[in-house]
Symmetry: C2
Subunit: 518 residues, 2 copies
């Protein structure tokens, strides 16, 4: 089993995994806590990763036929009340706008009582209701279907206990919303998106995931089926990294989304929704980070190759800078992973050793240090961030300029693959399928530990279950909760036959993943 990470180099002392995470977010200059309770400030390097996620995923969303739109931030309260399960699921975490003006009263600026809204507005926690309302106007006939839209937006779900990227009151995401003529079309869409997310997470984020269906108790409020991709973090916990929901006709009924078929008959549409968020950035950090900070997969690194010139306030500095500029230019003309290489010459006024370590902590995939000897000799000396050290010693290698330019695309592709392979081995090696009773499960995971205290790395258990529902499922949930465990998903990839249910002793109908989770 993979040990929990030590945190010595990033945090200055050994600590828990949450300490390490917080230190990496800070030292990699990704984000910081904001003075607005529960929200975050995403700094340039963190936002650059989000922009890379947006660009690469947006391309996939378009290629599968979806159009980007923008819908209002504020949703009238009455819209939520139409779908009972949906509002129940979100009511406890909604930010409510009640006034549209401030006024100085008794020397203090406060909401103007005369500008109180007749109906409060909800800051969107998700947009099924307001988009469904538009769908009810846009859809007339079978020819308008499927209707496939997506939006990139901010959403707000009030959180009491927040952690940067993983759980914040405001976050950024994309939300896809589609309407179809029948269940078959809508289910196919739900699974197509699930597969899109899986491929995206594995190819772009180098983050292996298991795609599967969430159990009934973990469904999106109002959904018939919820599917997810689940990734294993370096502390063994699961991170739900994306979800895709088949909503049946419940939202269509609540909002009167109907179409006329060729026979002139009116029917309710079947709808879907799906999303991924800035939470993915937390997943990338906890999948690829190491003792020295972040390691970014080249596909999402805002800068893939960073060149640090070693300047000494001497005449030969000019030659080093010139050599560095030419190298950046030559790199930018080459392609890696299907796009022009993103190279940077870091000319900031700072000690070059500090710059190097900043880029190590930020996880730039390749860091080049250029000195006068490199410039004079036509050499390039560089470090691969994915294999920075041999033991404790930092490793670098040298090549001629021509050889480096030639090798750069393959090197970046190799780093992308190496990060994936490392994470894939961790995932595959840490799912136990030999645990078949609840007692064994309890014994394996041991007493629950406070999540801030670390604890031994455990991974997940994959076990047969009888897919209980209702009260029987509630009981399962309670027993797991006592161990701080949750049901993650029933993987799409299932065996032909199945053992006995770990919870009920009945014959199992499928296998399900169990683990601790974010």
């Amino acid at each position: 089993m993979q040990r929990a990470l030590s945190v010595s180099r990033v945090t200055g002392n050994r600590g828990t995994f949450p300490d390490w995470y917080q230190a990496v977010v800070r030292e990699a200059d990704m984000a910081e806590v904001s003075p607005t309770r529960g929200a975050m400030i995403i700094k340039p390097w963190g936002y650059g990763v989000w922009e890379r996620i947006q660009q690469t995923l947006d391309r996939r969303i378009r290629e599968t036929g979806h159009d980007n739109c923008y819908f209002p931030l504020f949703i009238p309260l009455g819209f939520f009340a139409k779908e009972a399960e949906h509002v129940e699921g979100f009511a406890k975490e909604m930010a409510v706008v009640t006034h549209h003006r401030l006024k100085l009263i008794d020397g203090k600026l406060q909401p103007d009582p005369e500008a109180k809204l007749e109906e409060p507005l909800i800051v969107r926690p998700t947009s099924e209701t307001i988009i469904g309302d538009a769908f009810s106007r846009w859809i007339r006939s079978h020819r308008d279907l499927p209707l496939l839209v997506n939006q990139w937006a901010n959403v707000v779900r009030w959180e009491m206990r927040t952690r940067l990227f993983l759980r914040t009151s405001e976050f950024l995401w994309q939300e896809g919303h589609t309407a179809h003529a029948d269940a078959e079309d809508a289910r196919a869409e739900t699974l197509k998106i699930l597969e899109m997310y899986r491929e995206f997470a594995e190819t772009v984020l180098a983050m292996p995931v298991i795609a599967g269906e969430k159990p009934e108790n973990e469904r999106f409020p109002g959904a018939d089926n919820t599917f997810s991709i689940e990734a294993m973090m370096q502390d063994g916990k699961a991170l739900q990294a994306g979800t895709s929901h088949y909503l049946g006709t419940s939202f269509a009924q609540a909002q009167n989304i109907r179409f006329q078929d060729d026979a002139g008959q009116l029917s309710y549409c079947h709808t879907t929704s799906w999303g991924v968020s800035t939470r993915l950035i937390g997943g990338v950090i906890m999948t690829h980070g190491d003792d020295d900070g972040l390691r970014l997969p080249p596909a999402i690194a805002p800068r893939q190759i960073v060149i640090v010139p070693m300047l000494r306030d001497k005449p030969e500095d000019a030659q080093v800078l010139e050599y560095g500029q030419a190298l950046v230019k030559a790199l930018q003309e080459r392609f890696a992973l299907g796009e022009p290489i993103r190279a940077l010459l870091d000319t900031k006024a700072q000690r070059s050793a500090d710059k190097r370590w900043n880029w190590v902590r930020r996880g730039a995939p390749i860091i080049v240090e250029l000195g006068p000897r490199d410039a004079a000799g036509g050499q390039v000396t560089f470090m691969r961030r994915d294999r920075l050290r041999d033991g404790d010693k930092v490793q670098s290698q040298a090549m001629t300029r021509e050889a480096f330019l030639e090798a750069a695309p393959a090197l970046l592709a190799e780093i992308q693959q190496a990060l994936y392979d490392e994470a894939k081995a961790r995932l595959d090696g840490n799912i136990r399928s030999d645990i078949v009773t609840f007692d064994e499960l309890a014994e394996y995971f041991g007493a629950p530990v406070d999540e801030d205290e670390g604890g031994a790395f455990k991974g997940w258990v994959r076990a047969a279950w009888s897919r209980p529902t209702g009260a029987e499922l509630d009981a399962v949930e309670e027993r797991l909760k006592a161990l701080k465990l949750t049901l993650r998903n029933a993987p799409m990839d299932q065996p032909q036959t199945c053992g006995t249910c770990l919870f009920t002793g009945k014959p199992g109908v499928e296998e399900i993943l169990i683990g601790r989770a974010y």
Copy 2:
């Protein structure tokens, strides 16, 4: 003088300019009014234009050294109270979040009194205060300066009377925020951005503008100087299309943004802010639209060349489609205006004549109609949207496939230029500089007309003024207001000497633009 547009073809009857605008927004499928009062739904074609604006402007913002970040949507009320002019300027239009939970009380879902926030949160109308707070933490020494950030975000300013794109309670924008060591650096930034906006508006939007400084009474709340670009719409009114503010040290003092210079002395930073918004889309519509709907400059058209296959449910349809697909592919491999050509084969199940008119109304720059004869003969028959008609007659032209592929990049560049030239001639031809007294001004503009009633096209007046301030300026503003006129800006480009002030009779110190405005 240019006549006001007739609206016959888009609206079905003659109407006013606002009627025409509304019809174009609807018929071009750009946006619609949302059920959330004052907000809009931006539909795929409208959002596609915004994405083009984002991509092309973002490139310019990066190239001038700015980094993208993301700051919280909600700003604690107390942050606004720190800068008196600023809060006064925005307090009347702020959306206020007061609760973080809903509860079912007496069978009705409402804000939970137990979840009332101690301090209300303001939905950002602009982010100087929360970004300034971050700057106060991020800036320590002269080496941290200049600090140059930008964000793409949604903002909310409560509006009672809204119009799609031009004035909505929620809109999308970019806001740049920078901090500098001295006034000189900050002023240079303010003007650099003003020039960036001018170049962007003219090159990308094909919308000629006049860059200049706003008079004191039109400054951003809290700013020392506000500069704008002003564009002339086809009804003669001015649209403020972008602003750039030099904020002096007032925000830095309110938020304690200080740096240590080399001598160890602490000084306040000089800050700037600047932005453009989805309002630009309204400007594009009112600059380039015509009787048939929208005309989009190729640089921002989501699709530059749209191919409508004329299908007849006959065997030769397959040949037409195949020919069309090959044509799209060949176009996409070519570059126009520095980017791959954005071509589309419209295979939607709809009558081809309807499709053609939809693309005319949406303003696709080149519309190709492909029939069996084109496919058989290797021909391409197309319409240029910028010169759709000769008199009332729709014009099309035919070329061989090879000639069309060869000509396409130049054709798109020519359309971009033609739209600019047409708008530039209108701007240049409709600024009167021979009006030198207030009586002449009043006579020229005539009695104020209700903006929904059209009225004759008037353009602007450019006149010398003595740059009055305080009460004297208030008086000028009042006199203009009675004529529904406003001071737009004092153009950057000023003559050596200046006449007598149109308002005060004193010697003029600069020339200023006067007009009706959005």
